[in-house]
């Protein structure tokens, strides 16, 4: 009898232990599947069609496969003030429940540094999820222009004319830095609609240079043809 009772007690304990473990497992499963049946929203600070938007949309199709519970993803475009409006919204108005993401301009921190009045966030308190590329800066010139080195730009009587799309563009900012750092003056011709228009203007000879991000300068036209023909020279 005694032995049997003790045996029963052990059996009960064992079952309790199994249930307890099972319970722990269930809690884990619940925690992991927080995203199950939920919708994650990516707020993009630009209109549809540009690279910011295209990346957000592509990631919205692949990221759910790698999140336990496979949530639904939607992209919402909230353009305005170079994405400061979207950043203000996500920072101040979205619930901190892991269901809202933001794709803002990559120079958002500069808006904070210069103290733009619209800025209602501290960029250091955002949580970075990741990015898809690194884009260091380069400066190309037509190879047949008189500017072979940085020294040629510094000494030039007539500064070279370089194209830019506007005051937030890499080309514009690089020209400012070249002037401040080296006294290398470059005349920035602004107002081109996009990079491709600047490249065409360089081909026509209206301007001779462009500061730009490195990645798009390789593996595509017109640059591959330029490089084969020796049409451009990279000063940096």
């Amino acid at each position: 009898m005694r032995t049997t009772r003790r045996g029963r007690t052990w059996t009960l304990l064992l079952w309790s232990a199994i249930f307890a473990l099972g319970g722990v497992g269930a809690v884990h499963a619940q925690k992991d599947s927080f995203y199950s049946g939920k919708t994650v929203r990516i707020v993009v600070g630009f209109t549809p069609g540009g690279f910011y938007d295209r990346w957000a949309r592509m990631l919205s199709r692949y990221m759910p496969n790698y999140i336990p519970g496979n949530p639904n993803f939607v992209v919402q475009n909230m353009p305005g003030a170079s994405s400061v409006i979207a950043a203000n919204y996500v920072y101040n108005l979205s619930k901190p429940d892991g269901l809202t993401l933001l794709v803002p301009i990559n120079s958002l921190y500069l808006d904070q540094i210069v103290g733009r009045r619209e800025v209602k966030f501290d960029v250091r308190k955002f949580e970075f999820i990741g990015t898809q590329e690194k884009a260091p800066t380069m400066l190309y010139f037509r190879a047949d222009s008189p500017f072979k080195t940085l020294a040629d730009i510094i000494q030039a009587k007539e500064p070279p004319k370089c194209g830019s799309t506007g005051t937030a563009s890499t080309g514009y900012l690089l020209a400012k830095i070249m002037d401040e750092a080296f006294k290398a003056k470059m005349n920035t011709v602004s107002g081109y609609q996009g990079g491709a228009e600047i490249d065409v203007a360089v081909e026509r000879g209206e301007i001779v240079c462009r500061g730009m991000d490195i990645p798009p300068h390789f593996g595509r036209e017109p640059f591959d043809s330029w490089h084969r023909k020796g049409f451009d020279r990279h000063i940096l």
């Binding site: 995203y35 592509m58 990631l59 692949y62 920072y91 892991g98 590329e133 830095i177």
Partner: protein
Amino acid sequence: MGDAPTLFELMDQFKTPAVMRGVARVILASGDFGRPMLAGPGNPPERIKILREAYARAMRDPGLIEEAKKGQMDMEHTPGEELQAVMKELMNQPPDVIERVQKVLAD
């Protein structure tokens, strides 16, 4: 890039003052952030972890890589933790660098 020096190598060569290097670093670092994805403050850390992991794994998905190639979308994944560290460094520049950045961007 062939033999072209980087901007910072040129700054070594021309003995550019440290303040100006800091200015160039702060302004041009935006390129390091690519098309960044962020979450607001105060999100549960375990969900941030899940989202970072999903981002990293999506970037290794052969389907995404193929689509990016077709769309001529350049790829070089940087994890969120790394971007967080870069941002901290950029926002902790000495006041003379920050003032000069403000001046350069204001003109």
